[in-house]
């Protein structure tokens, strides 16, 4: 049984709550990054890049049918380990989840609760937001088609 979005979010939150210093919290992020399924090397191309500069983020997202309705499935990666951890968080709470959950989930508030918002450099933040925008746009398009 796959875990629901809410359960996954709770797991992540718990992992972060164990630590109050930044070195350890970055360690959590790095470990989360290692849990991200590998992305095809050929998908890491310019047209799939959602942000660049200090670190690159690539994403391929598709809308798929599932027995319970449409879900957004994506694979993504970053060349920097800490950014990959952030990508992994997004993957866990969004990929394979029902479009209604995706549209409802307040990712800003979630990252804020993890204490990550104030610590993300502009560069990383922009990359994550473009990812979120793409995922939400895909989810919304399913709503329109239905």
């Amino acid at each position: 049984m796959t875990r629901s979005q809410a359960e996954k979010a709770a797991d992540i939150e718990e992992a972060f709550s164990l630590f109050d210093n930044w070195e350890d919290r970055y360690q959590v992020l790095i470990d989360l990054g290692k849990m991200l399924p590998p992305m095809n090397a050929s998908d890491k191309c310019d047209s799939n890049r959602v942000s660049g500069c200090q670190s690159n983020v690539w994403m391929v997202a598709t809308l798929q049918d599932s027995p319970t309705g449409p879900v957004v499935v994506f694979s993504a990666d970053s060349d920097a380990s800490i950014t990959r951890g952030l990508v992994s968080i997004l993957w866990q709470v969004f990929s394979g989840q029902p479009v209604s959950d995706i549209l409802e989930f307040d990712i800003d508030e979630f990252l804020d609760r993890l204490g990550l918002m104030s610590h993300l450099s502009m560069n990383r933040r922009n990359g994550l937001f473009s990812m979120v925008l793409r995922v939400k746009a895909l989810a919304a398009s399913a709503g329109v088609g239905a």
Binding site: N21, W22, E23, Y26, Q27, I30, C53, Q54, S55, D79, A80, S81, I82, T83, S121, N123, R124
Partner: protein, 415 residues
């Protein structure tokens, strides 16, 4: 107040110097700040902060146009700032010192004024493969406009210029050479005197980008014989927003103004405007008055310590740093020129520079990560980005040790 007059005959006391820089006593993530991003910008001594404070709290007023006391004082202090820069660079006269916002603006001024009048179709401008974007893009823009050609002196694997290639490039088509004195990405100190001598043999003027050298070395523009020299105040322990273009008087006099407005004119009618004399011809509008005053205070500070002593101390730190950092497992130094100063640019194993910077920050260590506004040189060395630690007069061997320990720690975390 600790504005110590650092006696020139005494040993260099870095703790006394550190006491003059309030920001160095901050902590980050509960750890004492280790500031090693000086090539980006340097911290300010109390003397500079006080000078800015005094200006704004006791005699703020516009310059060159009023007849009351505080305006006379601000005009005087502003021009004193220029006189101090003249002394610092050993220029022949204050009219050779043009205030701009930063090194970048200085280069753009030369490209737009000297360049647009003297460079034509098919002409050539020579720069090097280790330039900062500030000394690439303004020339590209000019070349594009004029149909001129940008030539690039290549570098060897240590990050040194191939001088034979440079010599071959010089020709009657060459209209200007723009060369970085000290590379921000590699630390290489280029043989500018030789570069200038060779260019002058072809009657070609040389612009030296001194953004990195001005705060590490004694600069003597007469001895160097450069035609233009630019630097930024904020890297020289002074305020942001003020920079300097030095130009030989003969050249500056021939050059048309770049921007028009108040202060740069002698008289204006709708039929004809007569431009002001040097240096005002190039300083349209209200300048950065506090900036000149603050930069002057920074120069006073550096003269008090002695640029020669700072250079010697930094050299010692550099040699120490080379040993300590090359011993860090997996570290590859980018830029290993024989003549090198104050910059350690490196990669460690396959660690991403952004991870490196972020994790070092948790230990209170500030370095620059990325491409250092020098994409072509990163490409030349086959690296996406590097970590860069850069030294200033207040850094210590202990800080270099902390960096080395930090790098080992980061390797462990990411390992």
């Amino acid at each position: 107040m600790s504005d110590v007059k650092h006696a020139h005959n005494l040993a260099y006391d870095v703790e006394l110097i550190r006491a003059d820089f309030p920001l160095l006593h901050t902590s980050v993530h509960g750890k004492p700040l280790v500031y090693l991003d000086n090539a980006n910008t340097t911290q300010k001594p109390r003397k500079v902060i006080d000078a800015l404070m005094e200006y704004y709290t006791t005699y703020n007023s516009n310059i060159h146009r009023a007849s009351y006391s505080i305006a006379e004082r601000s005009t005087h202090e502003f021009e004193q700032g220029r006189a101090k820069v003249k002394g610092f660079l050993n220029a022949r006269g204050v009219e050779e010192i043009i205030f701009v916002r930063n090194a970048t603006e200085g280069i753009n001024l030369v490209a737009q004024s000297y360049g647009r009048t003297n460079v034509g179709e098919g002409d050539e401008i020579i720069i090097s493969a280790m330039e900062h974007h500030a000394n690439i893009v303004p020339w590209q823009m000019l070349c594009e406009e004029k149909g001129a050609v940008l030539k690039v002196i290549p570098v060897n694997d240590d990050g040194e210029l191939l001088m034979e290639e440079y010599e071959k490039m010089l020709s009657e088509r060459t209209k200007l050479v723009g060369i970085v004195h000290m590379s921000n990405a590699l630390g290489t100190v280029n043989p500018v005197e030789e570069i200038i001598r060779l260019a002058h043999a072809h009657g070609v003027p040389v612009l030296v980008d001194g953004a990195q050298s001005a705060y590490h070395k004694v600069i003597d523009v007469q001895k160097m014989d450069c035609d233009f020299f630019v630097f930024s105040g904020h890297k020289l322990y002074g305020p942001t927003g003020i920079g300097v273009l030095y130009g030989k008087r003969e050249l500056l006099e021939q050059m048309p103004p770049w921007m028009g407005g108040g202060d740069m004119i002698a008289s204006v009618t709708f039929e004809k405007t007569i431009y002001n004399e040097l240096p005002n011809k190039f300083e349209a509008g209200t300048p950065h008055i506090a900036g000149s005053i603050g930069l002057g205070a920074a120069i006073d500070y550096l003269n008090g310590v002695g640029m020669d002593r700072i250079a010697a101390y930094e050299h010692e730190l550099m040699e120490y740093g080379k040993q300590v950092l090359t011993a860090v497992p997996g570290l590859r130094m980018i830029g290993t020129a024989k003549e090198k100063a104050s910059v350690f640019s490196f990669v460690i194993k396959d660690i991403h520079a952004l991870d490196l910077g972020t994790l070092l920050d948790t230990q209170g260590i500030a370095i620059r990560t990325g491409q250092h506004c020098a994409h072509p040189v990163m490409k030349r060395f086959g690296v996406e980005a590097t970590g860069r630690a850069s030294l200033a007069c207040y850094n210590t061997k202990e800080e270099i040790d902390a960096l080395a320990r930090g790098l080992v720690r980061v390797s462990e975390i990411l390992g």
